[in-house]
């Protein structure tokens, strides 16, 4: 059975790139456009991994990560933070919120896929 990945991303093009990438690699993909939708989606169906954009409307990636990691049934789900502004301290902030890995934008889909495979092994 293929693994399920939740992509939390507000930008249509980025979602499509990830969709094309993940489906071609035989992953099942769930989509959410902001933090709140992400919380609804994980409550409905538990993903095996989450790709979390940090700059999100309504509820940002840090807060969504904190809430997901606070849920005992979900805290084992690995979360990869994706942020557009790769500044010193962003990685530390993402890790403090509970993210398991950190990918600065613009990421190479190829490298991201390698990271996903490693975390799901």
């Amino acid at each position: 059975m293929s693994k399920r990945i939740l992509v939390v991303e507000d930008q249509e093009d980025n979602r499509r790139i990830l969709r094309d990438l993940l489906t071609s690699a035989d992953y099942e993909m769930m989509e959410a456009e902001n933090g709140e939708e992400a919380l609804v989606a994980v409550a409905k169906q538990r993903p095996d991994l989450i790709l979390m954009d940090i700059q999100l409307p309504i509820l940002d990636g840090y807060e969504a990560t904190r809430r997901i990691k606070a849920d005992p049934t979900l805290k084992d789900v690995p979360i990869i933070a994706i942020t557009a502004i790769a500044l010193s301290g962003d990685e530390a902030k993402a890790r403090a919120a509970g993210c398991d890995d950190f990918v600065p934008k613009p990421y190479s889909p190829r490298e991201l896929l390698a990271k996903i495979r490693e975390l799901l092994r």
Partner: protein
């Protein structure tokens, strides 16, 4: 001291210009000098008066002594004349007696205060002259025995009294003289104290006045100077508090106005700078989002996610990808540089291992060196102290230097050498590239400068890498430099403190 500061405050509050205050102070001091002079003159004239009095007394004593002497000689000549009973001698003696009476009368004008005593003397003298006249008449009448008896009974006691009276006159005058000298001494001592006290109080008053005036000027000047120092140091929050209502008060008000204006401008500038860097951050985000999509789609196409692509298209797609990455590098560098320029690049200080930084950079660039068939050497001491700084930024600097070295070297080798001495790390990147002429070396670390524009076009690069590296090293309190000569390769090196506790202020 409290009284003094109150006085200084009082002088400060006087609503008059500084020159008027100074003029008033000088006038006051001049008045004090005049008063001291007047008191001195007054005392001097008193001393003069007393000296004249003493001279008068001296003359009186001399006159009385003369009277005493004359009286004694008159009495003697009378008694001897009476003994001879010679009529001619007696008549001349009587004349002399009367004449002396007139002399004593004249004396009465000199000794006004002893009129009573002199009166008694004059009375007794007249009676004496009377008695002598009667005795003379008795002698002329041939009554020698009666004359003799009268002389003994009446003239003798009168003569004794006259002698006593003259003694009294002299004694009294001498006593007056002694008292006068004593009084003069006392008066002199008193005057001396008055003059000294007056002079001293004048000095004290002048000093107090001088203190009050000078501190009412120095105090505000010091206060304003202190504030100007703070303003120069960039603190616009405090104000000068000067109570003076003179030129200094106006100056202080102007300083406050200037400080307010500067503070307002500074705030505006700060806000503008914040807006600028916010704008740059937003713009770079906005630019990177579509670029991210372009690069992502391109990579997916290259990786064959959307199906097989012909070889010809593959090479074009690779060009799109590399140009896109170059554009991304430019955007990132401009953002970095503008953040540094705005003083908003904050170093994330943490412990790091220089060894890890060097080997991390090596593993990232080794494929590039291999691709160009360059020898790649790394020299790191087996033990290095743990450093403290921004590991990511230092990696960025070293990556830039090594990347440049590989980019510009076509044959030979690139070597990285790390060392530690005197609490500072030194990292040198040496290459066997074309080298850089001294004129170009000077421009290397400025924005958008590369040694040779044709190389830039051929090799790519934003021209911002070294400018950013220089600023990052400077924020770490270090220094970056280049040693090179055209045709003999280049060595780029930087040194920085092993551990920094706070980032240096940008120059």
């Amino acid at each position: 001291m409290q009284i003094m500061s109150a006085l200084v405050g009082l002088v400060s509050r006087v609503p008059a210009p500084v020159h008027a205050k100074l003029l008033a102070a000088f006038l006051a001091i001049a008045m004090l000098l005049i008063m001291v002079g007047a008191v001195g003159l007054h005392v001097l004239s008193g001393v003069n008066q007393r000296t004249e009095d003493l001279i008068k007394l001296q003359r009186k004593i001399e006159a009385y002594r003369q009277v005493q002497h004359d009286t004694t000689s008159q009495l003697y000549s009378v008694s001897s004349a009476l003994l001879t009973s010679d009529d001619l001698t007696l008549s001349s003696t009587l004349r002399q007696l009367n004449q002396f009476g007139f002399d004593v009368d004249r004396l009465a004008f000199v000794a006004k205060d002893e009129v009573e005593l002199l009166g008694r003397f004059r009375q007794d003298y007249d009676r004496f002259v009377d008695v002598v006249t009667r005795v003379l008449e008795l002698i002329r009448g041939g009554h020698a025995a009666e004359a003799r008896q009268m002389q003994l009974a009446q003239a003798g006691p009168l003569a004794d009294r006259l002698e006593r009276l003259t003694d009294q006159l002299v004694n009294k005058a001498e006593a007056d003289m002694v008292a006068g000298i004593e009084a003069s001494k006392q008066a002199y001592a008193t005057s001396q104290w008055i003059v000294i006290a007056f002079a001293l109080s004048s000095i004290v008053l002048a000093l107090i006045l001088g203190y009050a005036i000078s501190w009412s000027l120095i105090g505000p000047v010091k206060e304003i100077e202190g504030r100007l120092n703070q303003i120069a140091a960039g603190d616009f929050t405090k104000r000068v508090h000067v109570i003076n209502q003179d030129e200094l008060g106006i100056l202080a008000a102007n300083v406050n106005r200037m400080c307010e204006e500067l503070g307002r401008l500074y705030q505006q500038l700060e806000a503008a700078s914040k807006h600028k860097s916010q704008f740059l951050a937003n713009m770079s985000h906005e630019l990177r989002t579509p670029l991210n999509a372009i690069l992502g789609y391109t990579e997916l196409i290259v990786d064959g996610i959307y199906g097989e692509t012909p070889d010809k298209m593959q090479s074009v797609l690779k060009r799109i990808e590399s140009n896109g990455r170059h554009l991304l590098g430019l955007i990132n560098d401009i953002l970095d540089l503008s953040k540094i320029e705005a003083g908003q690049l904050v170093l994330a200080l943490d412990d790091y291992s220089l060894k890890d930084v060097v080997y991390g950079v090596c593993s990232a660039v080794e494929p590039l060196a291999n691709e160009k068939k360059l020898k790649f050497k790394v020299e790191v001491p087996p033990t290095l102290p743990s450093g403290r700084g921004d590991e990511r930024r230092l990696t960025q600097v070293l990556l830039n230097l090594v990347g440049n070295a590989i980019k510009f070297t076509d044959t030979g080798e690139v070597a990285i050498k790390a060392s530690v001495a005197d609490g500072a790390f030194t990292i040198a990147v040496r290459d066997t590239g074309p080298g850089i002429s001294p004129a170009d070396q000077a421009k290397l670390f400025q924005e958008f400068q590369q040694a040779d524009n044709s190389i830039t076009r051929k090799k790519g690069g934003t021209g911002l890498g070294l400018a950013i590296s220089k600023r990052i090293i400077e924020l770490h309190g270090g220094r970056i430099w280049v040693e090179s000569s055209a045709g003999h390769g280049s060595t780029f090196a930087f040194t920085l403190p092993v551990a920094i506790e706070a980032q240096a202020r940008p120059a």
